[in-house]
């Protein structure tokens, strides 16, 4: 390893980097904003996804049996439904139990003691494995003999699925736009450095430095912009996770605020990589265009 050569090269990179500090900070700041937004968007999407999953998992299909169905009929149907692969669980709620549950649920809101008879039919409560199959499972249950009616929160299911889809698209669009902006700003910053160093570049070309050698310090500059920007963004995201999230969670206790599926390390590395890649590509294009001209 030739340390002198390395030191000269790093010196060149440092000289580039510090030549126009304000512009450099602008570039880094843009990357920070972009990556922080990308990170929080991914985080929000994941959290919403898991909230949606939670809600969907809780969605039950209520199967009301015809009047006069015997407990034996109910158990037979329940066994039949349990055999279905798409069904997670089946609970038999006899009308007496149903009434009792309703009384508990409505305690203090409605005076249920006024009820003199039990208006509820016998029912089965069915949960499915995959929330997206709620509709299909419900339809097949409706066909079964002895079933009077089938109910589930169809609207809620559809809406949640649609919202998470739309959110995904909007978020992706915003992030692509931001990455594009960051790339343009980095590329302009590099172009300023190239311009500031045009005499040096001319001399390098004159004495026979290779194109790669001339480019490399500028590519490194873009790489540093991207890397520092995204590192800063990661720090902000971490801060938000520890300072902000508990408060949000406290304010919205009914939301399960846990992005269970996010692997912090992979997530962080991915964001760093994206930032650095934007920097490298932007500077490559910027320097390439100058050197060809």
């Amino acid at each position: 390893m030739d340390w002198g050569r390395l030191r000269f090269f790093l010196g060149e990179v440092w000289r580039n980097f510090t030549r126009n500090l304000i512009m450099q900070l602008t570039a880094i700041g843009t990357v920070t904003v972009t990556i922080a937004l990308l990170g929080s968007f991914l985080f929000t999407r994941d959290t919403l996804g898991s909230i949606g999953d939670d809600v969907l998992k809780k969605i039950e299909i209520s199967v009301f049996l015809r009047d006069g169905a015997t407990p034996a009929d109910a158990h037979k149907l329940a066994a039949e439904l349990s055999a279905d692969r798409r069904v997670r669980s089946v609970a038999y709620i006899p009308k007496a139990l149903g009434l009792q549950q309703m009384r508990e649920r409505l305690r203090g809101q409605i005076d249920t003691s006024l009820l003199t008879s039990n208006p509820l039919p016998d029912a089965l409560r069915v949960r499915v494995v995959d929330p997206e199959q709620v509709r299909a499972v419900a339809a097949s249950i409706r066909m079964k003999p002895g079933v009077a009616n089938v109910e589930y929160a169809e609207d809620a299911v559809q809406k949640l699925l649609r919202i998470s889809d739309v959110l995904g698209r909007i978020g992706l669009g915003v992030v692509v736009l931001l990455i594009f902006t960051a790339a343009i700003i980095i590329s302009n910053t590099i172009r300023l450095t190239v311009f500031a160093r045009r005499r040096e570049i001319a001399i390098m070309q004159l004495v026979g430095a290779s194109g790669t050698y001339i480019r490399l310090p500028f590519i490194c500059e873009g790489f540093l912009d991207g890397l520092l920007g995204s590192a800063l963004a990661l720090a902000l995201l971490e801060l938000a996770r520890f300072q902000l999230l508990p408060k949000v969670a406290a304010a919205l206790p009914f939301l399960p605020m846990r992005a269970a599926n996010i692997n912090q390390l992979t997530f962080g590395l991915e964001l760093l990589l994206i930032g650095a890649a934007v920097g490298v590509v932007a500077s490559w294009l910027s320097v390439g265009r100058y050197l060809r001209a």
Binding site: R5, I203, V207, G208, A209, S210, Y213
Partner: protein, 244 residues
């Protein structure tokens, strides 16, 4: 060493800088390229280090067809061709040592070679004792000698000089010309574009005269003015006001 065959150069704006030039320069020679401003001296030099491509014709430098050279091979050509300009083109934020070392460092030379070569050329141009100074602390002649050291540090076979004494007073001019002469004695081919009559007449070497992009005279041991003997009152031409 250098050969041009039927070389023409027409710039994009239609200016004909060189017109059907045929020229050969042997290895180890010392050649002046003279003529008024705008007669194509600088254009001819630019063809040799491939800053410019000819519109027509062949340019060969050290066995390399420069006009057909791929862009990626240009750096290799330039390591064999040192170039010196009237305005020195030194980096003001680097010392003499750093300016010279720069030419080696950016071509990826090993530190060991930098440490060996830089003192050698600084010794050659007589600036070893000013290695730590910045260009702004040097005289014009010293700056030009620094530029020559930088051009030589890669051990090129050819040294091209475009008006090397154009910004120098007579004393500095003499220093620089002596240095170029010594460099030539070591075997480097030296080609100097100039309109400094005294320099040409004092050296009495091969003189190639350009007029309107054509070679109008090519004499061994020639004078600045074609077949006119020495310039009348050459000393007066040496006045700094006339030298640029």
């Amino acid at each position: 060493m250098i050969a041009l065959r039927g070389v023409s150069l027409v710039y994009a704006n239609g200016t004909r800088a060189l017109d059907a030039i045929d020229l050969e320069i042997a290895k180890g020679s010392f050649v002046f390229l003279v003529g008024h401003s705008g007669t194509g001296k600088s254009s001819l030099l630019r063809l040799l280090y491939r800053e410019q491509l000819p519109t027509r014709g062949e340019v060969t430098v050290d066995g390399i067809r420069v006009d057909k050279l791929r862009r990626s091979r240009v750096p290799l050509l330039r390591r064999n061709v040192g170039v010196v300009f009237q305005d020195f083109k030194l980096l003001s934020d680097k010392t003499v040592w750093e300016n010279v070392a720069f030419a080696l460092q950016v071509t990826g030379a090993r530190t060991r070679d930098v440490m060996r070569q830089v003192p050698r050329v600084l010794e050659l141009v007589g600036l070893a004792h000013k290695a730590r100074m910045f260009p702004s602390e040097l005289s014009g002649g010293e700056q030009q000698r620094t530029a020559i050291a930088r051009a030589l540090v890669n051990n090129p076979k050819i040294l091209l000089c475009d008006e090397p004494t154009g910004n120098l007073d007579p004393a500095n001019t003499n220093d620089v010309m002596d240095l170029l002469h010594r460099i030539n004695l070591k075997g480097t081919t030296v080609l100097i574009a100039t309109h400094n009559a005294l320099v040409v007449d004092r050296m009495r070497r091969r003189v190639i005269r350009l007029e309107d992009g054509k070679i109008v005279a090519d004499e061994e041991r020639g004078y600045y003015l074609a077949s006119a003997g020495t310039v009348p009152g050459a000393e007066r031409l040496q006045a700094p006001a006339q030298s640029a």
